[in-house]
Symmetry: none
Subunit: 177 residues, 2 copies
């Protein structure tokens, strides 16, 4: 990473966004913070080199922002950073043109490194242990949820589980690794 970048940070958690912005600023980057999707698209006076998006922005998904940001800022490198990471959304994000996808918590160095990379790395090693039961359950839920356009009730019906239970499972963070 050589020259300073102009980076957009979008996260509905204002505290987290500010902390991250601060850390990035300390490394010499120019950072703009947005807490909603609208704010993120508002600042288009000067192009951004990179954007760090959260998956959950209030009601809608950060994935929706990707096409707009790419149209507004040619050559922008988009990184998704979320505490509710899943394989289903990771696949979706990369297909939409994101450069990388990281689960929270991630260090600033990790984030900058992810933004710097562009091509696929065929040497990526698969984990030596299979997914934990909790993790597998989380991935499955995310997949079905995506198939139903995020409709909670419909997903609960499809999985034959109680809506309240699904709601509570989604509120929990996925288990690490």
């Amino acid at each position: 990473m050589s020259a300073a970048w102009r980076i957009l940070v979008v996260d509905d958690d204002a505290v987290f966004a500010d902390t991250l912005a601060c850390a990035l600023g300390r490394r010499g980057h120019e950072v703009v913070v947005a807490n909603t999707g609208e704010e993120a698209l508002a600042d288009s006076t000067r192009p951004f080199h990179a954007a760090i998006l959260d998956l959950r922005l209030g009601t809608d998904s950060g994935l929706r922002l990707i096409p707009f940001l790419k149209a507004l800022h040619p050559g922008i490198r988009i990184l998704l950073l979320t505490g509710y990471a899943s394989i289903a959304t990771a696949v979706e994000a990369i297909k939409l043109g994101a450069v990388h996808y990281l689960p929270k918590p991630a260090g600033v160095d990790e984030i900058l490194q992810a933004l710097g990379r562009l091509e696929g790395d065929a040497d990526a090693r698969p984990p030596d242990a299979p997914m934990s039961l909790d993790r597998l359950e989380w991935e499955h839920i995310q997949k079905v949820l995506a198939e139903h356009d995020g409709n909670l009730s419909a997903t609960a019906r499809a999985l034959k589980m109680h809506r309240r239970t699904l709601q509570r499972k989604l509120a929990k963070h996925p288990v690490r690794a």
Copy 2:
């Protein structure tokens, strides 16, 4: 309904590969099975429309195959299917040009849909009910248990769960096919 596809299935688990090949064949597709990366690249007499890759092929990664397969078979649609799924490898797979990435276990319909094979008659086909959470969990446990030769303690360690809990889960489901 469009024409049948010529599909390549690459998995070092011969039993699984054959089962999948059989299921795909029953839907009218022409299937070729390979158990190693070399075998997968050997058959290039006629182009494949799609490939289903495991992430773990003996020592090396199925990700390495992607560029070669894409070079050998123009327009091939590659799906990664693995029991050792992770967000990191999912990201790399998509960046390398795979069309999708699914954790095992996945149903045949799910696989074909991921490959884009069922897009056309999505309206006509009643939405097949996804696996229930219990069944998914059961399948996963059985798979890991088999990998550890039925060793309960080792399986519990691999799944990062308490041995007592695994024991109770296994005791619950008598024998259900």
